[in-house]
């Protein structure tokens, strides 16, 4: 019966919500639409639809800009055959360089693809408009097409003189004057001037400030990954000082939970895990490196030093053990023990992994696309790829390790080292020694060759160590090793390092990067929504000595950050993805935060930093049913406080990762990820409703509330609601909650036998547990701001 009701209800709901959007759908015919990022599925069969769109009155920009209008089209539709990859370049024509695009072509070199100001003479215009399958570009077999709008963009650009510009991210960032705005009193710091300026141009205004309750919740989660307690909320609400909020921010930045929370993102990026990842997926010990990361972040180690130690700590003069431990970063790649593999094949794989990870993490480039051939879209040759790869190719390591082997090179860590220099490692008394994989150039004479098609057994030309020239020149004064590489990354002229770093920090605080593709700053990546702000932040970050906490503080202190996330239908329609930041984004808690929040509000959370990874509850059988019988064959949950540690300490078996974390979009940790998906799925609902960890937390919170605090149901409900959502419930919400509480109590009386009543929880505990679980399932409970 209830099932039927549910269906009917959701049916009505859909109609209810669909109607306004059908109206929007009609409205869209009158708004100008760009199709330039329509990709993928069956796009070539879309001809008629595209034409339809073109006829819907799309408005061409008055001035066509090469970077923002033209190059995305050229890159996406033309570069596969007319781009950086020499190997597949057709007709000797390339559109990725100015020289190439304007060069004479044809048998007699008497034609030009692009004749500035003269569309009629430009072969490009002729080709894209051709209807002859032999002539038309892109050709039919490419499965790529141009929309009418895109054709017009290209044509108009040529008519307007075909002004060429270099790719924005390969031009060094410059700090432009902070713009003046009409309401400077709104701004808290420079960020706001850039944001407000843009809003003014769009005819939009910032939203009002978030309530104190919302603001403190958001900033707690963003900086520490944990919720504020009721006491902390009350203190903030009652603090009438002008700098009340700043006090909270400073407190959070100084709290150890900050380092733990910020480490989570770095662990994704570093593909950190507790197992080797291939086939039998044996256990490894990398957690001392993770402890270092937390400690370095909490100490506010400048970003350049943080990275330099991880890339090349071992090569620093008189390297300390701590600096060597930091290089564990580049040993987090997977390692195989599968019998019968060819050693060199996998060794090469590990070197590639280091190169790819470093490139994505620090430069936001998809260097891995140049393993088998020149990059299809970005100016990175295969030779440059292997030049970069060479930096990581000097480690004397095995491709295949034996069972129970700790891969070389590694360092020994005993209580002695911990006591003397590695105090940040939480080494339990029971562990007398661990060995941590680190970097060491102990195969200094190994030569690096280009590998044809990326294959380990197809070496060709030998290459010397190098970095992509387009990013920045590698100075002769720098040593040709990882230490020199680290300095190259942080040279003033490096166009990417600082931009990529501040963009990722922005993504962390605002949900989406200024460049939304935080993993791709190349030609196929997204364009910055606020280019001047990005550059301002990038230069400022460097000028501030790469001070991470200062940068985060700047972001969360901005008025932009402190806006409410309420959105009007008008604003939602004008800017659904909140690119312009006329409001705050209503973003969802991460996998770690969801569990940590439940542990924290219920009082179960054990605040202890670092140490070996722990095994909280997990549905039984998940390891056992896939194992070969070797290695980690059975998941045995820990007992005691290890059940209630923060989620970043959860043991990560790569081939069977913690299931509820995966359900909430944690990456697999097979390779570097700098951005998580944000999905909403039915499996997530099941976790929220039934995960024993959440039920236990609900029960714990219910019992605490029944024992300690308020006396009436209303008061109790209010407390639980506040703990979970950080705000006071409104009267009608309290009514709704109490109503359900009553319902559960009644149902307990009528449905439970005396036996179950005697064995199970009391009526109050049961009813309050169910109620608490319900509150955990509110949308608001998994939303930050």
């Amino acid at each position: 019966m209830s099932n039927k009701q549910g269906n009917k209800k959701s049916g009505i709901l859909i109609l209810y919500f669909a109607i306004p959007f059908i109206i929007v759908l009609l409205v869209k015919y009158s708004i100008s639409m760009s199709r330039d990022q329509y990709q993928g599925l069956g796009e070539n069969s879309a001809g008629s639809e595209k034409e339809q769109l073109a006829d819907m009155g799309m408005k061409l920009p008055d001035t066509v800009d090469f970077i923002f209008h033209v190059k995305p089209i050229l890159s996406d539709r033309c570069y596969l055959c007319h781009g950086p990859d020499e190997g597949t370049r057709e007709a000797g024509l390339r559109f990725d360089t100015k020289e190439g695009a304007f060069a004479a072509i044809g048998e007699h070199l008497d034609k030009y693809a692009i004749v500035p100001g003269d569309a009629a003479s430009s072969r490009l215009v002729f080709k894209i408009n051709s209807t002859d399958p032999e002539q038309i570009m892109p050709p039919p077999d490419s499965n790529l097409t141009l929309s009418e709008y895109e054709k017009q963009i290209l044509t108009k650009w040529i008519e307007q003189g075909a002004v060429w510009k270099d790719h924005w991210s390969f031009v060094p960032p410059k700090k432009k004057e902070v713009p003046s705005i009409s309401n400077p009193e709104w701004a808290s710091n420079e960020i706001d001037y850039f944001i407000a300026k843009r809003l003014e141009q769009e005819g939009l205004a910032p939203s009002e400030k978030a309530t104190k309750e919302k603001l403190i919740r958001k900033v707690y989660f963003d900086l520490t990954g944990l919720p504020p307690s009721i006491e902390e909320i009350d203190t903030f609400i009652n603090d009438k000082d002008a700098n009340a909020y700043e006090k909270v921010v400073d407190h959070l930045l100084a709290s150890p939970a900050y380092g733990e929370h910020m480490a989570s993102g770095w662990l994704d990026l570093s593909r950190y895990a507790d197992t080797h990842g291939y086939q039998d997926d044996l256990e490894r010990v990398m957690w001392p490196w993770r402890d270092w990361v937390i400690s370095a972040i909490n100490r506010n180690m400048p970003y350049n030093q943080f990275v330099k130690w991880q890339l090349a700590g071992d090569l620093l003069p008189d390297a300390t053990l701590e600096q060597i431990v930091a290089t564990g970063f580049n040993r987090n790649h997977k390692i195989t023990q599968e019998g019968g593999v060819i050693d060199e094949e996998y060794r090469v794989e590990y070197v590639k992994d280091r190169a790819n990870t470093t490139a994505k993490a620090l430069m936001g480039l998809t260097m891995e696309c140049a393993q088998c051939h020149d990059h299809k879209y970005d100016p990175i040759s295969q030779k440059e790829y292997y030049g970069f790869y060479g930096f990581f190719n000097k480690v004397n390591e095995k491709g295949r390790i034996d069972y129970n082997e700790i891969p070389e090179p590694n360092v020994k860590i005993t209580p002695k080292e911990v006591k003397e220099t590695l105090s940040f490692i939480n080494l339990p008394d029971s562990i007398k020694e661990v060995r941590l994989m680190v970097m060491k150039d102990d195969a200094p004479d190994r030569k690096t060759h280009i590998l044809k098609r990326g294959q380990y057994d197809a070496p060709s030309e030998e290459v010397s160590l190098s970095t992509p020239e387009v990013v920045f020149v590698y100075s002769d004064s720098l040593p040709k090793n990882r230490l020199g590489l680290a300095d190259w990354f942080f040279s003033e002229g490096n166009t990417l390092t600082s931009r990529v770093a501040v963009n990722r920090m922005w993504q962390h605080i605002f949900g989406v990067g200024i460049v939304s593709t935080s993993d791709d700053f190349g030609n196929q990546g997204a364009l910055p929504s606020h280019p001047d702000l990005l550059d301002w932040l990038a230069v400022t970050f460097r000028e501030d000595g790469w001070d991470v906490k200062k940068m985060y503080k700047r972001m969360v202190m901005s008025s932009t950050y402190q806006q409410t996330s309420k959105v009007t239908p008008q604003l939602l329609e004008a800017d659904p993805d909140n690119v312009l930041l006329a409001r705050s984004s209503r973003s969802k808690l991460t996998a770690e935060m969801i569990r940590d929040n439940a542990l924290a509000v219920s009082g179960l959370l054990v605040n202890k930093i670092g140490g070996p990874s722990v095994k909280p509850y997990q549905p039984p059988g998940l390891w056992a049913e896939t194992t070969s019988g070797q290695g980690l064959t059975k998941y045995i949950p820990d007992t005691g406080e290890n059940l209630y540690r923060r989620s970043l300490y959860t043991f990560w078996k790569r081939t069977v990762p913690p299931p509820s974390m995966m359900t909430f979009d944690a990456p697999t940790r097979d390779f570097c990820e700098v951005k998580r998906q944000k999905t909403s799925t039915p499996l997530q609902a099941l976790v929220m409703l039934n995960d024993p960890q959440l039920i236990e937390a609900a029960e714990h919170l219910a019992m605490n509330t029944l024992e300690n605090e308020a006396t009436t149901d209303e008061e109790r409900v209010k407390t639980i609601f506040r703990k979970i959502t950080s705000r006071f419930p409104e009267e009608n919400e309290i009514d709704e909650l109490v109503q359900y509480l009553e319902y559960v109590k009644d149902s307990y009386d009528t449905t439970n036998s005396d036996v179950t009543k005697a064995e199970g929880p009391s009526k109050d505990v049961y009813a309050y547990t169910v109620l608490t679980s319900m509150i955990f399932n509110l949308d608001e409970a998994i939303i930050k701001g």
Binding site: L41, G42, G629
Partner: protein, 485 residues
């Protein structure tokens, strides 16, 4: 600057429409009703899902019976009498022709050829060769489309199985089922689009592990990840309500949650809230539909007999085959089974006998059961492992015993139903059973063909991730038209 802004605003508006599942073409609020529907994802490409299929599909659903470990084609389907004649003689270099070996046999100084210990015969009107290990399969050969000429690039388990499932030897790409879920969406409103069933063989129960990334969504939205259905009380993780909670309490809870969430929606205007409400409703429906699918009490005796008594033991291959049928009956799009234990390096004769017994009857039953229900017509069944096995013995060859190493250069798979030729054998290997002599079918070719059967052109079905358009078939693959009925 103005143009630049317009650029973002335009893109924004488009995303907005997409988010509501009301993208171009107006495929309506289907995504709200069906949270597993492909258009609910977060990539701009998603809205183009409605252009699939590219042409009329022959198969609406797939059951992929993955035989993990590498079943020996030489003991099952690829009959090579020459190997009996040459038993014990060394593999000629001219046949091996420089083929890479695994580290497990590359150290052997001899490669003694060995034929099958099990007798072969021809069956059905199609006269297909099947060994005595597969008596039930032998009876249904006229439904099967054998490919004797499969080959792969990988020679070790992890990369080879990853290659079959994702089109790439290295982890990170979406599984075949995820691609189908993303591209074609769901056929039903109560169950996931892509489901996974695991069983452990008795031949060599503990040999090769599986990895959950094999049914992972890779860079696609996690809506498209394979959902494991497990034996036991909680067939889908966290499906079961806490002990003591009644269904009406749960229903009531969801009603109150919906009420309160709608209040939030009214205040904050966040369309995500509506999507979450729909997810909860789907979860609630799954709490009924999943146990209903798993509960085989309503299966009549003769059906159980057909699959074999193992079908009554949850978690066995036979039980999973029966579940697979129940799933496709309920219009699950892609059912991925894995049966472990086919890695017969040593003691092959005794191990493979048990292993074949695990699967023979139930596989045949599944095909005939689908047929008698009219489901075989538009359901494609795929049977096969990640590579084949060598024609020479790994380890010492005795009169009765031998082993076989991994062999990527040729192996046998079969398909049935959904648009493939019944009673048909394609491709040929040489008399040594080592090389392909006719009509090779690469892993990407197989994937291209499966997609073709589902109405999808594998060269056009792409997903743009980090600037590159990815395909299940990477940059190669051809549809094997000769296999199509």
């Amino acid at each position: 600057m103005e143009e630049l802004s317009q650029h973002f605003i335009n893109n924004n508006r488009r995303h907005f429409l997409k988010k509501m599942g009301l993208g171009i073409g107006g495929i309506a609020a289907a995504s709200l009703l069906d949270p597993f529907s492909s258009v609910a994802g977060s990539n701009p490409a998603d809205e183009l899902a409605l252009k699939l299929p590219h042409f009329a599909p022959k198969a609406k659903r797939v059951i992929y019976l993955f035989q993990s470990g590498g079943p020996s084609q030489l003991e099952l389907f690829d009959y090579k009498p020459l190997l009996d004649k040459l038993r014990g003689e060394d593999l000629p270099d001219s046949v091996r022709n420089g083929q890479r070996l695994t580290g497990m046999t590359s150290g052997q100084d001899k490669f003694p050829l060995v034929g099958s210990n099990f007798k072969f015969d021809q069956y059905g009107q199609s006269r297909a060769w099947v060994s005595s290990l597969m008596p039930y399969t032998a009876k249904v050969v006229d439904e099967l489309c054998f490919i004797k000429s499969m080959h792969t690039e990988a020679i070790n388990h992890d990369p080879a199985i990853t290659f079959f499932q994702t089109g790439s030897q290295q982890a990170g790409r979406p599984s075949m089922g995820s691609w189908m879920s993303y591209g074609l969406g769901s056929l039903n409103e109560n169950l996931p689009t892509f489901t996974v069933l695991l069983s452990r063989g008795t031949g060599r129960p503990f040999s090769q592990p599986l990895y959950s990334r094999l049914w992972g969504n890779g860079f696609l939205s996690s809506l498209h990840q394979g959902v494991q259905f497990r034996s036991g009380k909680d067939p889908v993780l966290y499906l079961k309500d806490p002990e003591g909670m009644s269904r009406s309490e749960r229903r009531k809870m969801l009603d109150h949650i919906n009420e309160l969430n709608q209040k939030q929606e009214a205040e904050f205007g966040d369309p995500e809230i509506n999507s979450r409400i729909a997810q909860y409703e789907m979860a609630y429906r799954m709490q009924t539909s999943v146990p209903d699918t798993m509960n085989i009490d309503d299966e009549p005796e003769h059906i159980i007999q057909m699959y074999g008594m193992d079908a009554l033991t949850p978690g066995t291959y036979a039980a999973n085959c029966l579940l697979a049928r129940r799933m496709v009956e309920r219009d699950v799009r892609f059912v991925q089974l894995y049966h472990m234990g086919w890695d017969q390096h040593f003691d092959l004769p005794s191990q493979i006998e048990k292993q074949a017994k695990d699967i023979d009857q139930a596989t045949a039953a599944l095909i005939m059961d689908l047929k008698q229900r009219g489901l075989l017509e538009d359901t494609l069944v795929i049977w096969g492992g990640e590579f084949g096995r060598t024609n020479y013995s790994q380890g010492v060859l005795t009169e009765t015993n031998y082993g076989r190493d991994h062999h990527p250069k040729c192996f046998t798979m079969f398909m049935a139903g959904g648009g493939v030729k019944p009673g048909f054998t394609y491709g040929e290997t040489d008399d040594f059973g080592y090389n392909i002599v006719k009509d090779p079918v690469h892993v990407h070719d197989l994937q291209a063909t499966v997609m073709h059967l589902m109405g999808v052109d594998h060269t056009k079905f792409t997903y743009k991730h980090q600037g590159r358009r990815f395909r299940l078939t990477d940059v190669s693959g051809h549809v094997v038209h000769d296999l199509l009925s």
